[in-house]
């Protein structure tokens, strides 16, 4: 369903050149939930932005359901729902009006927009906020509205970049429930996160990315086996190579040693 083939992404030129991704290859099957783990600056967001056609690869190719993300970007976007932690909502429109706007953009019939909106409002537990201006929303409420917008056109592929970032525990739970529901409905999900428990609970397979390259891919069991670590957090630190000063990460197993 989703295929990354030797994908590299370079930002800037000359001395300012930054290689965000370097020959990344992986596939995600239909109905699969794929977790992308990695520290800040590892290349998670770049990977997901490339997949959602917001960026173009410098080298390599990405396909979604056989469609090229560069040559057939509009068709790809038609099939995906994208949510990123760096998205924001402001302005005088309410969530209802925004749902209507994005429904229109996706050429959904008016009645169908209303039906889908009502279902999403219930699922997202938005309550009366649905009719209020989004500029008055809390972070959590904005995230719910953004999820609603991403799912309104009922995409087959859902790409969530850090979906629980900055959320309180209650809103975080609502988002997790949504992800579980999508999983049960057979949707294909790619979720980037640095919260290990989410990855453990939800993902069929996990890829750990660090410094622009995929270091390991597999099911939880396969990762435990390959790294020899007892849980995902230990496996994560083992894969990224432990403590580095610039990142400030501490390899707990090394500490203990």
């Amino acid at each position: 369903m989703i295929q990354f083939k030797e994908v590299s992404k370079v930002f800037g030129t000359g001395k300012k050149e930054v290689r965000a991704l370097d020959k990344v290859s992986f596939t995600v099957g239909s109905g699969e939930i794929f977790g992308l783990l990695g520290p800040n600056g590892a290349g998670k967001t770049t990977s997901l932005r490339l997949l959602s056609t917001l960026l173009k690869p410098t080298q390599g190719q990405i396909t979604v359901a056989g469609l090229d993300t560069v040559k057939e970007s509009q068709e790809v976007r038609n099939r995906i729902g994208f949510l990123s932690s760096d998205m924001n909502l402001t302005g005088s429109l309410s969530a209802r009006e925004l749902f209507r706007f994005f429904g229109d953009l996706n050429h959904i019939e008016e009645e169908e927009i209303a039906n889908r909106s009502n279902r999403l409002i219930g699922q997202l537990k938005m309550g009366d906020f649905y009719e209020r201006k989004v500029e008055t929303y809390s972070t959590g409420m904005k995230q719910k509205a953004l999820i609603g917008i991403a799912l309104l056109h009922d995409p087959d592929i859902i790409i969530f970049d850090e979906p629980t970032n900055g959320l309180d525990i209650i809103t975080g739970r609502v988002v997790l429930d949504i992800l579980k529901d999508l999983k049960n409905r057979g949707k294909t999900l790619i979720v980037s996160t640095h919260i290990m428990s989410i990855a453990e609970k939800l993902c069929d397979r996990i890829g750990i990315i660090h410094k622009g390259t995929i270091r390991i891919i597999g099911t939880l069991e396969e990762i435990y086996e390959k790294t020899g670590e007892p849980d995902l957090e230990e496996a994560f630190f083992s894969v990224i190579g432990g403590v580095t000063e610039d990142e400030g990460y501490h390899h707990r197993s090394k500490k203990r040693a």
Partner: protein, 395 residues
């Protein structure tokens, strides 16, 4: 096209619910123009009245002469003493006028003696000082003429020689046309300012502002093509520019009419033809400015940066607007009509001030501006599809 209209409608819905922006775009120009012109009109009237009623303080070394000059009592004066420095006293407003008479002057006929010299000191920083100096000079000239007439009559010569040749000044412009001349210079200047002002607030908000607030990504991740997003935003900005400029002009016309009521309604200076042509030029300018602002807004990292980029063009345009206010340095029929944006200022001026409509110049102005706007809009659509610009933020 459907997607473009959807984006346009969304932006319009958003702004229609934003009372503060609506007030700034449409309410402020109306209030500002009506208020400014009314306050200006009242201030001018009260200033004139005040100057007529003022008792002017005059310093002189020849009180009898000065009192004689003002003997008609139309202008009230009070003779005052000064210090050693006339200049300092004038600046300190100890008096409004100083008259220093050199030479013996016991009678008015002494005005013609070689040694007679009258120095009139005034301070142009004070309206009262300027006015009393003007009144004094013209009164002295009047007395001199009267004395000359007396001499000529006594010498049995024809005093009527002083009235030769007969000079008749005939201004064929009606009062309305004279008002139109003033208005014609002012209108293009104000229009351009308002077209830019509306663009700055609304245009940068939906381009650089959205990038800065990170609200653009959600739209870009949707199935809608990026050129549709760009065109939707450009059309929205064009519409807001035209509406804001039209309301500003109407408010200006009402305000101007209320300040100079003797001109009647300023709307009468337009014929249906000139009003239609003016509207065409305004549309072409609004479209061009919208496209320009959109390109700058997409390129810039932030609203602040976008404002800095557009400032030079804005300043140059305003400078040409000021030139259009008072001079005939540039003729709209010349090379200037091929320069986008600037051509609009001079063509609008000619349209209001010239008796005959120059359809060719208007057509060239509109076509040049629309062509430049189309070029910029095409560039804007391309930039919206380019990650180097849409993800170029200061964050």
């Amino acid at each position: 096209m459907k997607d473009i209209i959807t984006v346009l409608k969304k932006e319009l819905r958003n702004v229609l619910k934003d009372r503060r922006t609506l007030f700034m775009l449409f309410g402020v120009p109306v209030i500002m123009f009506l208020l400014i012109f009314n306050v200006m009109g009242e201030a001018m009237k009260s200033q004139e009245k005040k100057l007529e009623e003022t008792v002017y303080k005059v310093y002189t070394n020849h009180a009898a002469f000065v009192e004689n000059v003002f003997r008609d009592g139309m202008t009230k004066i009070e003779l005052v003493d000064g210090t050693d420095s006339i200049e300092n006293d004038l600046r300190d407003k100890r008096f409004d006028l100083a008259v220093v008479v050199e030479g013996q002057m016991d009678r008015l006929s002494d005005l013609f003696k070689d040694e007679t010299e009258i120095s009139i000191y005034s301070f142009s920083g004070s309206m009262a000082s300027e006015r009393i100096a003007r009144v004094f000079s013209s009164s002295v000239n009047l007395i001199r003429d009267q004395q000359l007439r007396l001499f000529l009559t006594e010498a049995e010569l024809d005093a009527g020689l002083l009235d030769k040749p007969v000079i008749k000044s005939i201004n064929i412009a009606t009062e309305k046309e004279q008002a139109g001349a003033t208005f014609g210079g002012l209108l293009p200047y104000l229009l351009v300012i308002y077209l830019f002002t509306a663009s700055f607030s609304v245009g940068f908000d939906v381009t650089a502002g959205e990038k800065e607030r990170q609200t653009l990504t959600i739209l870009l991740a949707n199935r809608v093509s990026r050129s549709s997003i760009a065109w939707g935003k450009i059309l929205y900005l064009m519409l807001m520019n035209i509406l804001s400029a039209a309301i500003s002009v109407v408010a200006f016309l009402f305000g101007f009419s209320s300040m100079i009521p003797q001109t009647g309604s300023m709307f009468t200076i337009f014929t249906p033809g000139s009003a239609a042509l003016l509207f065409l030029i305004v549309i072409s300018l609004a479209v061009l400015i919208a496209a320009f602002i959109t390109v700058i807004g997409i390129f810039a990292r932030s609203v602040k940066e976008a404002s800095a980029y557009s400032l030079p063009i804005y300043v140059v345009t305003i400078l040409f607007g000021i030139l259009g206010l008072q001079s005939e340095i540039f003729q709209s029929q010349g090379v200037i009509r091929y320069i986008p944006l600037i051509n609009g200022i001079f063509t609008m001026k000619d349209l209001i001030t010239q008796p005959r409509l120059d359809y060719v110049t208007v057509a060239i102005t509109v076509v040049i501006n629309l062509a430049a706007a189309a070029l910029l809009a095409f560039l804007a659509a391309k930039m919206f599809s380019d990650e180097r610009f849409v993800f170029r933020t200061g964050n």
